[in-house]
């Protein structure tokens, strides 16, 4: 730590760059992830097989994809609580169109279209009607779930035709990697490029950092927020599509047991500030993997599913505390 004042003066100093990397948020998360993996490696022999990790990556793909959208939205200082209900809307819509059109692509298109549709409504209500996004999407969490209940009468909608290709795609691999995970990583890379290399991405951070300043400096805040809501719901729709592929049916309660909270927990764990403008998508990916690994490890150990909840909650508090600690150190170092 003594070298820091020196490093501050010489920004290109190699040691400084390394210390930056070492003290970054992401480094802390990587260490946390390694610690979690190591812990289960010791406690639970079955986690020593490679297969477990490929399975893990397949299982967390829907969460990861949904988390991309939530991250982008939260970076701009807005929320979407309705993503859990979106999973069910997408699933039911897809399978209903499967059965009525007897065409796989029509079903997929209809299911994915629910994303922009719902996102567009959210975007309109928040940007044009100036409604608080947390409450608005809390409302649509209930409204969407309720509509699914009413439509399905709380019965799963089965694929009557049997589009096996659709289901196989979820379980197939590209080389050693599960297909859903390949899709998730491609979307992460795309989002990462958008966030770090484009004007759109810079504007997202600017809006989250200081919306008034962003507006005054000519950024089209409303348009960007509208697009972010569409992106967020669309990501949730893709996640919902993956869940539908997994089971081959539209389940009315998909994502009903707190999917939105798990995803937001992962995003916050990844270091995205609730107030917006701060954090990175890499952190989100690590957050999703850490929570997924914890849940899977505990499940393999045969720990009661609900003790898993306690552990997840504790990790969340630990991580957020770690981030606030990190922020405080960052402030001290700047002095």
């Amino acid at each position: 730590m003594a070298a820091i004042p020196v490093g501050r003066k010489r920004h290109q100093n190699g040691a400084m760059r390394w210390s930056r990397l070492l003290f970054s948020r992401e480094a802390g998360l990587v260490i946390l992830l390694l610690a979690v993996v190591a812990l289960f490696w010791i406690l639970e022999p079955s986690t020593r097989q490679q297969r477990v990790y490929w399975d893990l990556l397949r299982e967390i793909s829907p969460n990861l994809i949904a988390a991309i959208g939530v991250t982008m939205l939260m970076l701009a200082g807005e929320f979407d609580l309705s993503i859990g209900s979106m999973l069910a809307v997408t699933g039911v819509t897809t399978v209903v169109f499967f059965n009525s059109t007897e065409n796989m692509w029509a079903g997929i298109a209809a299911g994915l279209a629910t994303g922009p549709l719902v996102g567009g409504i959210h975007g309109y209500l928040v940007t044009k009607q100036k409604m608080n996004s947390l409450v608005t999407t809390l409302g649509s969490l209930f409204a969407l779930r309720g509509m699914v209940y009413v439509y399905t009468n709380k019965m799963p909608v089965s694929d009557l035709i049997g589009f096996w290709d659709f289901q196989d795609a979820y379980y197939n691999n590209l080389g050693p990697a599960p297909l859903p995970f390949v899709l998730a990583i491609l979307l992460v890379i795309l989002a990462l490029i958008v966030l770090t290399q484009t004007e759109f991405g810079r504007n997202v951070y600017a809006i989250g950092g200081n919306e008034t300043a962003a507006r005054v400096s000519g950024i089209r805040v409303n348009l960007i927020k509208f697009m972010l809501f569409v992106i967020c719901s669309s990501c949730a729709a893709i996640g919902g599509m993956l869940l539908t592929m997994q089971t081959g049916s539209g389940y009315f309660n998909a994502g009903g047991s707190g999917f939105e909270l798990i995803v937001i927990a992962a995003v916050v764990l990844g270091g995205i500030a609730l107030s917006g403008g701060k954090g990175s998508l890499v952190g989100t990916v690590l957050g999703v993997v850490i929570l997924g690994m914890t849940a899977k490890g505990l499940r393999l150990m045969g720990v009661n599913t609900n003790i898993q909840l306690m552990v997840t909650g504790s990790i969340m508090i630990l991580a957020v505390f770690m981030h606030s600690f990190h922020d405080r150190i960052a402030i001290l170092r700047r002095r």
């Binding site: 100036k130 209930f142 009413v150 609900n306 306690m310 957020v320």
Partner: protein, 334 residues
């Protein structure tokens, strides 16, 4: 609010009417009141059963749990914090109180343990949010998982009532002078905290702390203590809800109360309390709770598919926030 209304300075009936009209059309409470009144009239016309003492009693009893928690949540939200852990509290307090009652057959002890759990969880929420400086939404979301896990850890099945204490069953199902006990608790708690919020120093502190914590600190208000009181109060009132629910269900169930937190927070926000703190109304919360209960009741009475309850709850929240947002913009343009 002040500038444009010099004409109503005249005293007497006229000014009273103007103020009433203003309240009805220009405040969240007034709009909610109009909606509730319209739905009550509609349901009275549509259903013979709706406007009977028995049905109104059922309606208010069913909503008393959400309402009692929402009272604490209103104060907490005005002070600028939030508690998402109240849903899991319904299960956690329920299983523990039922097990204490079964083992000791002592009602006072059971209730004391239940309330003490509320204090403890409230204190933990306060410490994580205020001392560790973690945003209370995240802190209490984490606690939502932890408390739910604790309930499951305590028992992996539901705990049946084996003590058969009559007074305990009365809490959720009994009547006093023809009024259900849950409704009496609900009204009493509402009235007490209405006065606390509007007529006491503590109430003014709550508003000040939520509106501008820095200014409140400079003014010598113990900001952290006020917020801590809000957390503990919400925890205790969530426990009261849990005990009433326990008595109504007659068994401690570890899975109960999922989504309860969203309903309670939704009702408070629907009542016009601001998410950013400093602004809110107990009357608004009351009307919002009654509105949500009326809709659910109406759906049952009119024999509509009960799945609509969930949809309508969501749509009502959206409509109320929409009305509130429009009202705010109008006031901003004035």
């Amino acid at each position: 609010m002040v500038g444009n209304r010099s004409d109503s300075a005249s005293t007497g009936i006229g000014s009273w009417v103007t103020r009433a009209v203003h309240w009805l059309l220009h405040t969240q409470e007034g709009v909610l009141f109009l909606i509730v009144a319209a739905i009550w009239i509609f349901l009275t016309v549509q259903s013979d059963v709706f406007f009977t003492g028995r049905n109104i009693g059922v309606l208010l009893s069913q909503v008393s749990m959400t309402a009692i928690t929402a009272v604490g949540m209103t104060i907490l939200l005005i002070s600028g914090e939030i508690d998402a852990s109240v849903g899991s509290m319904q299960a956690f307090v329920g299983v523990i109180v039922m097990s204490v009652l079964n083992n000791t057959e002592n009602l006072a002890l059971g209730i004391t343990v239940g309330l003490a759990l509320g204090v403890i969880v409230g204190l933990i929420n306060a410490v994580i949010s205020l001392r560790l400086g973690i945003n209370s939404l995240i802190a209490t979301l984490a606690m939502l998982s932890i408390v739910r896990g604790a309930a499951f850890g305590f028992t992996d099945a539901s705990i049946q009532n084996t003590h058969k204490i009559q007074t305990f069953t009365e809490i959720g199902n009994g009547f006093f002078l023809g009024v259900p006990w849950p409704v009496i608790f609900f009204f009493a708690i509402f009235l007490i905290f209405y006065f606390v919020l509007t007529r006491t120093t503590f109430g003014r502190f709550v508003h000040a702390v939520g509106a501008n914590p820095e200014a409140a600190t400079l003014a010598g208000i113990p900001v952290r203590m006020v917020k801590l009181a809000g957390f503990v109060l919400t925890g205790v009132l969530a426990s009261v809800s849990a005990i009433i629910l326990l008595s109504r269900l007659n068994s401690g169930q570890n899975g109960i109360g999922a989504g309860f937190e969203l309903e309670a927070i939704g009702a408070v926000l629907l009542g016009g309390t601001s998410l950013s703190g400093g602004e809110g109304s107990m009357v608004g919360t009351f009307l919002a709770v009654v509105l949500l209960a009326t809709l659910k009741n109406g759906i049952v009475l009119l024999d509509i598919n009960s799945s609509w309850q969930v949809t309508v709850t969501g749509l009502i929240i959206i409509v109320a926030v929409l009305l509130d947002a429009r009202r705010r913009r109008r006031m901003g343009q004035d």
